[in-house]
Symmetry: C2
Subunit: 501 residues, 2 copies
């Protein structure tokens, strides 16, 4: 006899397959599709998404879900079954709140807003984008109303990226980061230690970069038998199952860092997906639980591991052998310092491990102000530059290098940005706990090895996929809610050493 | 007000998108998917195919189709609308005849038969494959019964690959080919002119091969703005729209021909899809009309163009510059002769332009004999070797080099093989007509140029997609049914010249 849960699972498998198929089409679009294939691809992806949305939001799906819930009764909270039903109830409720009219309108506005943004950025002309951003803000406001919230509108949006996390919590944490990071950055400036990254800006053959990036990703623990490295303009990671979790990189012929550390970053994302438990196969639980936790895994591999002294003492000889002309006379220590240079800059995606957080705090503040009506869109450029001055001490000479730099605001996706900085904080808190629970992790790391760390991540984080919300996960794993303290301890120790504070 | 035809079209777009999405997943499986991604990929493709089959065979689809047919009345036979309804009625009727039980069983048997075949081929042990081939023959017999036929069972199967073409017609044409090709081959043997292809068997750098293959494909008229060249183990062409028609190639480091002519072959397939009329977008008509006509386009580009003297007189200098060490002292004429060497051999996919047809005639005969119960599967190896002796004058020393060489018989796909040889015949008949209608084609070809030929193909064949059956098309285009005579004129002239008959 088929149980109600099995009946639910049948639909879940179908929906997961549709979602993953859309993912393959999207990956192919970015990696292999010829330029003129775009029209048909948009139609194909639209059809899959429409089918998927119709199936998921049907009354029949709701019945299957409630029947399964009734059958499970008070099953163990941690079980796959209870976790899946819990997740689906939340997702089903959210999906049913979105009206078709809204989705259609939102896609239309976003498409046109993106065109306008590209033009505005190219011409350094904020006015071109302004009316579209105004519409996007209205879409965000509508979204917050549709989803509903208890305390403040931003909660409704943030919740979609970081389930259960409140704006007020994030604000308090970011305030604490700011209170400690500003003085740390000032101390570095005042100390005036020279750290040069000139060696990274040389001519680096791209095929050799690729070969080394593969080597480094494997050194972290990324499994190429269950992965693939593609070339794209805007790098990302994506997975079609735990056994097919891919990474992508953009290659620069005259700058080593972005491709190398980009690959390590995306490897961290993909390793999370590769580590989900096999029992979650073909369900929406077989994914990272939130953008913030996902970013913690990529940041851990990019920064805590990939920019550590141990990693480069172990692997720099290989890099040196790959690029003898460029790095033959450089020491591992010099390289380590070069890849950890900190300096205020205009562009978020090029920012270092410390200043990156200020770029996020700025966006978090401005999103709330626009959403709440405290900041008119027309005043955004001024507000942006004021905040840059306060937080980073530099003011971008143009809006292209300022408030027009990111594509995120072409969509009603307020609430996405803060997850980037939350990722840094989660990463440090997880890592501190990992080392305290298993000292081998630290000794391996000093030798550039990650087996023990990856095993710990798999056991404590990866295998669970989306079973727990980020708040639940950080509490379970570190016995404490998210805080800024671990990150500040990590950052202060590392940069005090490098800059001789 | 929405017309019945528009209501039909809405469903057709959805179904086409699903089919193309499945195609993208399949292409990705062959080109980029990591080995362990296979389990999830099979599930994902299975879900898309099941959704598609369910939607297409629904009563609702039948109603939409008949409502549209009624609305159209006696619309112009050549119109997109009448052609689509005509095509869909045929496809709908066929799809409704297939029982779910049959599809499930057929997929199961085919999967296991493929495993057994791989083992049998590796171990040169026909007995391992025999029981599975027996089941595949039964599946073919069931299929013929389900589809139904007037004259003989093979008709029902052939019709699925070459709509409206009868076994008796093909038999008569193949007999005529045989009657003329055997003496031509004998004359070549007796004349004894030495043609060597040793120059093709040297070390050829793969990146340079790729660059030249791209150049050659573009020289034919393949549009890379609407295409992509991927690397695979078993080459094929596929399209996701006329603006995204891809080719694939396998690269050999020490043999120039397979990759180069394979690329030209697949380019011919893809150019057919690139040439379908834009008005057929998102319908099943935006594809080649049959396997045989499709093969005529690939064979035309591979052989009639790609193995012509004019093509190599024009493009050999470029190839020579790419490979100065290997081809520096070779003339264009020597190269032209080398790529046209004819010699009996065991393996179909390695056969030359003349002997290839014998390999197909052999399989066509044996398929009918097995289907009709005139040949027991256990006697296949003997029957195979006897026919090889008769047609080609050579007998494979092992079954691995004989009846176990192709994967086709792991599926109930009898009727597929003959389309390969039909492609050669269609190609020659089309080409003869093209040249007679536009003499510029011949003069351009003598200079290695294809613009006029491609324009003619586009106008007369490509743009129609699947609007006409192969019988209708050859009659419309050449004012005559398919015959062997154009091919024999072409082959006799070309090989008499090369071999000095």
């Amino acid at each position: 006899m088929t149980t109600a849960y099995e009946t639910l699972l049948e639909k879940v498998h179908e929906l997961t397959d549709l979602e993953k198929a859309t993912g393959v089409l999207s990956w192919d679009k970015e990696t292999n599709m010829p330029p003129k294939g775009i029209t048909a691809r948009i139609d194909q992806m639209g059809t899959l998404q429409r089918l998927s949305h119709t199936l998921f939001t049907s009354d029949e799906m709701g019945e299957r879900l409630e029947n399964a819930a009734a059958e499970l009764g008070d099953a163990d909270y941690d079980s796959d079954e209870a976790s899946l039903v819990r997740y689906l109830r939340r997702a089903y409720g959210d999906a049913r709140k979105l009206t078709t009219d809204y989705v259609v309108r939102s896609n239309q506005i976003s498409g046109q807003a993106r065109e306008a943004w590209m033009k505005a950025r190219a011409n350094n002309e904020f006015a071109t984008f302004q009316p579209w951003l105004e519409q996007v803000v209205v879409l965000c406001q509508e979204l917050a109303s549709m989803y509903g919230y208890d305390d403040e509108p931003y909660d409704a949006l943030l919740d979609k990226f970081e389930t259960g996390t409140k704006t007020a919590e994030v604000r308090a944490i970011f305030d604490a980061v700011k209170a400690e990071l500003v003085p740390l950055r000032q101390a570095i400036e005042e100390r005036g230690t020279a750290v040069s990254d000139d060696i990274l800006h040389q001519s680096y053959d791209i095929d050799s970069q690729k070969a080394f990036a593969r080597y480094a990703a494997e050194a972290l623990g990324y499994d190429f038998e269950r992965g693939h490295l593609g070339t794209v303009v805007h790098p990302f990671a994506t997975s079609f199952s735990r056994d097919d979790a891919r990474i992508t990189t953009r290659w620069y012929p005259d700058f080593l860092s972005p491709s190398l550390f980009g690959t390590l970053h995306e490897s961290g994302h993909a390793m999370y997906e590769q580590g989900t438990h096999p029992s979650l196969y073909r369900t929406p639980l077989a994914r990272g639980t939130s953008l913030g936790i996902h970013e913690s895994q990529s940041r851990m591999m990019e920064n805590i591991v990939g920019r550590s002294r141990g990693f480069w003492q172990a692997h720099f000889p290989k890099l040196q052998a790959t690029f003898p002309d460029q790095l033959g006379s450089v020491t591992a220590e010099q390289f380590y310092r070069a890849v950890n240079k900190t300096q205020p800059s205009y562009i978020r995606v090029e920012a270092d491990e410390l200043t990156y957080n200020f770029h996020i705090i700025l966006r978090f503040d401005l999103e709330q102000a626009m959403l709440n009506g405290d900041l008119a869109v027309k005043d955004l450029p001024t507000a942006w530059n004021d905040k840059m001055q306060t937080l980073l001490g530099v003011v971008p000479p143009t809006d292209t290098l300022g408030c027009l730099q990111d594509p995120h605001w072409t969509r009603p996706g307020f609430g996405y940005f803060p997850t980037y900085a939350l990722g840094n904080l989660y990463a440090a808190q997880f890592y501190e706990t990992a080392v305290s629970q298993n000292p081998t992790i630290a000794s391996q790391m000093a030798a550039g090895q990650t087996e023990a760390l990856v095993a710990w991540l798999r056991q404590n984080i990866h295998q669970h996929g989306r079973k727990f919300t980020p708040r639940e996960l950080i509490q379970r794993v570190t016995d404490s809610p998210l805080s800024h303290t671990a990150f500040m301890r990590y950052a202060t120790a590392k940069f005090s050493d490098i800059y001789g504070l």
